[in-house]
C-alpha cells in the first residue's frame, strides 16, 4: 500500500511559536483519515503544508508522491476544501463550475452537473447568496469534480448546522465509495469523524499523539477501573494514555496489545470519542513540567 501523505520531521514555526512540531506521518492510500485535535493544535497548519499553501520550516512532506503544489500536475492530484469553504461571492454556481472546468485538466463535468442538480441548486444563483451548507456543498463539488487522488478538507462542517453536517458527510461518503479517492479531513468534533473515518491522526499541542486505523486503535485501547494505585506499577506492555484518580479509585486508559491479567481491574471497551479525549488529556511530560513551573 502506498502512502498518500508522508511527513518526515515536519515542522512549521510562526515567529517563535511552533504551530506544528516534529510531525512524522505515513497515511496509506484508500482511507478516509480523520485529523482530530483541539482548536489550535495545528490541524490547519498540517493541512496547509499538505496542499502546499505554506512551505515547512523543518522536515519534509510528500503528497501523492510529490512535493505539494510543486507543479500543475501535482496540484491536479490533490483537491482541497478550505476552512469556511471560500467561494467567489459574485460568481454564480455555473460560473464556479466553468472555473473548475477551465482550471483542471481532469474535470468531470457530468459529476459536477449531477451534484448541483441533486442538491437542488439554481446554477444561475450567485455563490454569495448561498447558505453556509450550500456553499460547503459547492466547494465540495469543486473538490470532487476535479477528480483528485486525495481530497483534503479543513473543518468542512464546523460552521454547519447538524442537518447540513449530516448531509455533507453523507455526500462525501457516497463520493468516496464511487470514485475511490483517499480523503484527509480535520475536525475538532470527534462524533463527526466517527461516522466516516477508518484512519485517525490525533494532533495535540502541535504534535502527533497517535495515528492508526480506527479498528486497531479501538482494539488496543481499553479503560481500566480499580482500586487506587501507582500507574508506574503496571506491566511494561501497558502504556498509560491518561489517568485519573480519586481517593479510592484509579481510572486509566491504556494502550496494550495483550490481555489484562490483573483481576483487580475491571476492563471496559472505549469508544472513539473517549479514546481521542484520553489523548487530549494525556499526562504529557512537557505539560506536566510546564504546570510545575507555573506552581513555582
Amino acid at each position: 500500500m502506498t502512502a498518500v501523505v508522508r511527513a518526515e520531521g515536519l515542522g512549521k514555526r510562526y515567529g517563535r511559536r511552533w504551530a506544528l512540531h516534529d510531525c512524522t506521518l505515513d497515511i496509506p492510500s484508500g482511507h478516509v483519515t480523520g485529523l482530530v485535535g483541539p482548536n489550535g493544535a495545528g490541524k490547519t497548519t498540517l493541512l496547509s503544508l499538505a496542499v502546499g499553501m505554506q512551505a515547512p520550516t523543518t522536515g519534509s512532506i510528500e503528497v501523492c508522491g510529490g512535493r505539494p503544489a510543486a507543479s500543475a500536475e501535482q496540484l491536479a492530484k490533490v483537491g482541497f476544501v478550505a476552512q469556511d469553504t471560500p467561494t467567489y461571492a459574485r460568481l454564480s454556481i455555473a460560473e464556479h463550475l466553468e472555473l473548475g472546468a477551465r482550471l483542471n485538466p481532469r474535470w468531470d463535468h457530468q459529476l459536477a452537473r449531477d451534484r448541483v442538480d441533486r442538491l437542488g441548486l439554481d446554477p444561475k444563483q450567485r455563490a454569495g447568496k448561498l447558505s453556509g451548507g450550500q456553499r460547503a456543498q459547492l466547494a465540495l463539488t469543486l473538490g470532487l469534480a476535479k477528480r483528485p487522488e486525495l481530497l483534503i478538507l479543513d473543518e468542512p462542517v464546523a460552521s454547519l448546522d447538524p442537518l447540513a453536517r449530516r448531509e455533507f458527510l453523507q455526500t462525501l461518503m457516497e463520493a468516496v465509495a464511487e470514485y475511490e479517492l483517499s480523503v484527509l479531513l480535520s475536525s475538532h468534533v470527534v462524533s463527526d469523524l466517527e461516522r466516516v473515518c477508518d484512519h485517525l491522526v490525533v494532533l495535540v499541542d502541535s504534535e502527533v499523539r497517535v495515528e492508526g486505523e480506527v479498528e486497531d486503535l479501538l482494539a488496543t485501547h481499553i479503560r481500566l477501573t480499580g482500586p487506587l494505585r501507582d500507574v508506574h506499577a503496571l506491566p511494561s506492555d501497558q502504556h498509560v494514555v491518561s489517568a485519573s484518580h480519586t481517593d479510592r479509585q484509579s481510572t486509566l486508559v491504556v494502550r496494550t496489545s495483550s490481555a489484562v491479567l490483573d483481576p483487580s481491574w475491571s476492563v471496559t471497551a472505549l469508544g472513539l470519542e473517549d479514546l481521542v479525549l484520553a489523548y487530549m488529556q494525556a499526562p504529557d511530560e512537557s505539560r506536566a513540567s510546564r504546570a510545575l513551573e507555573v506552581l513555582r
Partner: protein
C-alpha cells in the same frame, strides 16, 4: 485562467472603456471647430472660448489621474481582495500554479489598463495637438507639450505611468494583504511619483542643454521685481518655442551668476506694480537698458531641454517606468510564493 481573470475584470473594464469612449466622442465633436479656428489669420489662442480651454485642461487632468486611479482600483485589489475573501485558497488549489495564476491576472489587467489609457492619451493628444503651446497676440498661452504640465499627459508616457501604477498597486496589495490600505497607498505613492519625476528626474533623463542668450528687447520675457519694486531677475524667452527652461540666471562677463547692477533699477523706471511680473508687451521701452547690460558683458545663462527632445524624453521616461514596473512585478511574484 484568462476566462476567470476576464470574468473578474469585466464590469470595471466595461465602465472604464465606456468612459474613454464618451470622452473621445466629446473631443471628436469639437475638433472640426478647432480646425476651422486654426485656419484663420488671428491667433488661435485669442479665439478659444472658456469651454475650449476647460476641455483642454480637462484632458490634462483626466490623463494625470487615470493611471493612479486605475492602479488603485485594478492593481491594489488584484491579489489583496482574494486574500481578504479567502478565495486564494480556492483558486490556488485548482490545477494551476500560483505563478501562472498571477502571471495571467497581472498581464491581462496590465494590457486592459494600458490599452484604455493608451486610447485616452491618443484621443487627448490628437485633440490637443493644435493647442499645445499656442500663445495669445497680447498675453496668455497654453502649456507646450514638453513642459511638466502637459508632458506626461501626452502620447506614450501616460501608458507607462499606468503600467507602473497597476504594478505598484498589485505589489502593495500583496504586501499589505488588504485592498483598501493598498489602494490608499497606491494613490499616495502615485501622487508623489507624478510630482517627483518632473521636478527631480525628468530634467536629468537626458543631459540638459545650456546656452548664453544676449539680453535684449526681442529675447526678453519678463522682469521680476521684489516687494519694493526693484527689479531682481530677468527672464528670457527660450530659443525655440516649446523649449522647457529648467533654470536661467544673469551672468557677468566672467560667467559668474550675479545680481543685476544697481543702475538697472533707475534705468527701467518707472517700476511695474509691486510684486507683479511685467509682461514684455506692456513693459516700457527698455532697449537702452539692455544695450548697456550687453555692453557691460551681462548675459543670460539658460539651462533647458530643447523642444526637439520631446520624443527622446518620452522614450526615456517610458523605459524608466517600465523597468520600475518590472522590478515591482518581480517582487510581487516572489512575495506571492511566500503567502499562505
Amino acid at each position: 485562467m484568462t476566462w476567470l481573470t476576464w470574468r473578474q475584470l469585466r464590469a470595471q473594464a466595461t465602465a472604464v472603456y465606456a468612459a474613454v469612449l464618451a470622452l473621445a466622442v466629446v473631443l471628436a465633436v469639437t475638433v472640426p471647430r478647432l480646425t476651422r479656428l486654426g485656419q484663420g489669420q488671428v491667433s488661435l489662442f485669442d479665439q478659444l472660448t472658456r469651454s475650449d480651454r476647460n476641455l483642454y485642461y480637462a484632458g490634462i487632468v483626466v490623463l494625470a489621474l487615470a493611471p493612479a486611479v486605475i492602479g488603485a482600483f485594478w492593481g491594489a485589489p488584484l491579489v489583496a481582495r482574494e486574500l481578504e475573501a479567502g478565495t486564494h485558497r480556492l483558486v490556488w488549489n485548482q490545477s494551476i500554479t500560483r505563478t501562472r495564476w498571477l502571471a495571467t491576472k497581472l498581464v491581462l489587467t496590465l494590457l486592459c489598463a494600458a490599452i484604455a489609457v493608451g486610447l485616452l492619451s491618443l484621443a487627448v493628444t490628437w485633440w490637443s495637438a493644435p493647442l499645445d503651446g499656442v500663445t495669445g497676440s497680447q498675453r496668455g498661452s497654453l502649456p507646450s507639450r514638453l513642459t511638466p504640465i502637459a508632458f506626461s499627459m501626452r502620447d506614450l508616457v501616460p501608458v507607462a505611468y499606468t503600467v507602473f501604477s497597476v504594478s505598484l498597486g498589485t505589489a502593495l496589495g500583496v504586501l499589505l494583504r488588504r485592498a483598501l490600505p493598498a489602494m490608499a497607498l497606491t494613490l499616495a505613492v502615485m501622487a508623489f511619483v507624478q510630482i517627483a519625476v518632473p521636478l527631480w528626474v525628468r530634467p536629468h533623463l537626458l543631459p540638459p542643454t545650456s546656452q548664453l542668450v544676449v539680453l535684449g528687447r526681442d529675447t526678453l520675457d519678463s522682469i521680476m521685481a521684489d516687494d519694493t519694486g526693484t527689479p531682481v531677475r530677468i527672464g528670457v524667452r527660450p530659443a525655440h518655442r516649446g523649449d522647457w527652461v529648467l533654470s536661467q540666471q544673469t551672468v557677468d562677463s566672467a560667467g559668474r551668476a550675479v545680481a543685476l547692477p544697481s543702475w538697472f533699477n533707475s534705468c527701467v523706471a518707472p517700476p511695474p506694480p509691486v510684486g507683479v511680473a511685467s509682461q514684455r508687451s506692456e513693459a516700457p521701452d527698455v532697449s537702452g537698458c539692455f544695450s548697456r547690460l550687453t555692453a557691460e558683458g551681462y548675459q543670460q545663462h539658460v539651462v533647458y531641454q530643447p523642444v526637439s527632445r520631446f520624443w527622446p524624453l518620452q522614450w526615456a521616461e517610458t523605459a524608466l517606468l517600465l523597468v520600475l514596473s518590472a522590478l515591482l512585478a518581480v517582487f510581487t511574484f516572489r512575495w506571492t510564493r511566500r503567502l499562505s
